[in-house]
Amino acid sequence: MSEMTFDAERVRGWARLTGDENPLHLDPEFAATTPFEVPITHGHLLACVALDVAQRRDGVRLLEGGRVSVRFRAPVPVGGELRLEHREVADGHEIHGYRGDTDALQVHVEPAAVPTKEDTDVQ
């Protein structure tokens, strides 16, 4: 469906944009002291990239009444690549983000319902 590489420049830019300058994302020496061992990409950056994919599909049905739930399954290291795949589900659709074969990100999207003819008919 789509892929993106989260290089250090992108991650640094996102840190400045959001104010999230946690050294876990930016400092290899600090990251080496954590369970992650290497700098990891901000989860909210991954979420926004997936959300953009959903909005391209759903448009105003996402913007006006859409519900999105993001779960982070595994970290994406800085310099790593995320591959996004789309699936239809009963109450909407899902976007899964894979780092290699690892399910790193799960995004559940419930777009707003499309108004029926009965909803829009003038009484």
């Binding site: 959001t18 104010g19 926004c48 448009g59 006006e64 859409g66 999105v68 993001v70």
Partner: protein, 129 residues
């Protein structure tokens, strides 16, 4: 008054029902597009996530060791092009089965004077401090 260098505490999160102001500068919108690749003319819903994070942190760093577990977004309308928001923050704190602190930080965003934009909830494992 906020102190940008002071680490955010749990007790700092909620606005206790008050609406506060947030301005997301034009560079933030342009930066979002550049960093995520969003190239549609519509305002990106994800900008609400950026606004919500800036809102609940008020420019202060979170304590080291926390983990973002999830994000929930209820979008009501497109983020405002002028970057002007009002926000409210509520926080719910509980312990998980292992005794670790879990926090749901919900930021409600609206345009000044009304017009809901989004509710954004960050689910965080808060570090022991």
């Amino acid at each position: 008054m906020t102190h940008p260098a002071q680490v955010l505490a749990l007790s700092d999160l909620a606005t206790e029902g008050s609406w506060e102001q947030l301005h997301l500068e034009e560079q933030a919108h342009l930066g979002y597009r550049r960093l995520t690749g969003w190239d549609n003319p519509e305002m990106p819903a994800g900008l609400g996530i950026v606004a919500a994070r800036r809102a609940f942190t008020r420019g202060r760093p979170l304590p080291a060791g926390g983990v973002l577990l999830g994000i929930e977004l209820d979008s009501r309308s497109a983020p405002p092009e002028d970057g002007e928001y009002e926000f409210q923050v509520d926080a719910a704190v509980r312990e998980d089965s292992s005794g670790r602190t879990l926090v749901r930080v919900c930021t409600r965003l609206r345009r000044p004077g009304g017009g809901d934009v989004a509710d954004v909830t960050f689910v965080l494992r808060w570090p022991d401090v």
